[in-house]
């Protein structure tokens, strides 16, 4: 059986889907401890399969397995996506510094679960912005 080859856009769409699942499930997991274990077995199996598929999608797309090589436009759009993401984080830090005083924001700390959520969100935004620039960017 011959495996399909993906275009870079398809790769990013798959990546966005994978990271979306990670972000949504991690957001749920942050609110409800061990959410999968609380479900009946019939609901656990498809959910575990979804998590596994997302993991494969995220790793496969990140490694660029069976995906066309990026060209100069893709590299340019990736730079733009990274730059926009940096500006967003820069802006959020600015807000934190300006308005954090006296609101109990003296210490910024994250749990491992929150880091997983933020990491997924950053990857989702990075790929989403790339797709946006690919589609709309001149």
């Amino acid at each position: 059986m011959k495996l399909p080859r993906f275009t870079l856009t398809q790769n990013k769409v798959i990546s966005v889907c994978g990271w979306s699942v990670v972000v949504v499930l991690q957001a749920i997991a942050l609110r409800i401890p061990a959410p999968v274990a609380r479900l009946p077995l019939a609901a656990q199996i498809p959910l575990i399969l979804l998590i596994l598929l997302s993991g494969i999608a995220v790793v496969g797309t990140a490694l660029g397995i069976r995906t066309e090589k990026p060209d100069e436009r893709a590299v340019y759009n990736q730079y733009r996506a990274n730059s926009t993401l940096f500006t967003l984080i820069f802006f959020l830090f600015g807000i934190y510094l300006l308005f954090g005083d006296g609101r109990g924001w003296e210490t910024l700390c994250f749990t491992r679960g929150q880091i997983i959520f933020l990491f997924g969100l950053l990857c989702l935004l990075q790929d989403g912005l790339f797709l946006l620039y690919e589609r709309l960017g001149h």
Binding site: T7, E68, P70, D71, E72, R73, A74
Partner: protein, 67 residues
């Protein structure tokens, strides 16, 4: 704004976007964007395209000021 003759030249040679893309080492989508004037190529890519058609860069690409 960028205007190109890529589509016209490609069709006159019976070439698919994917074939031209493979010849100049870019993705098919990039050729599509170039044909619509929605992407300003690097000098190298412009020269590679011109080389494929046996023309100069100026024969294929023109810029106009549109305010």
């Amino acid at each position: 704004m960028l205007h190109t003759r890529i589509r016209e030249l490609r069709l006159s040679r019976g070439m698919e976007q994917a074939q031209l893309a493979a010849l100049v080492g870019v993705r098919r989508e990039t050729i599509g964007r170039l044909e619509k004037g929605q992407y300003n190529p690097s000098l190298k890519l412009a020269m590679d395209i011109a080389h494929v058609f046996g023309l100069t860069v100026e024969d294929i690409f023109t810029f106009t000021d549109e305010t």
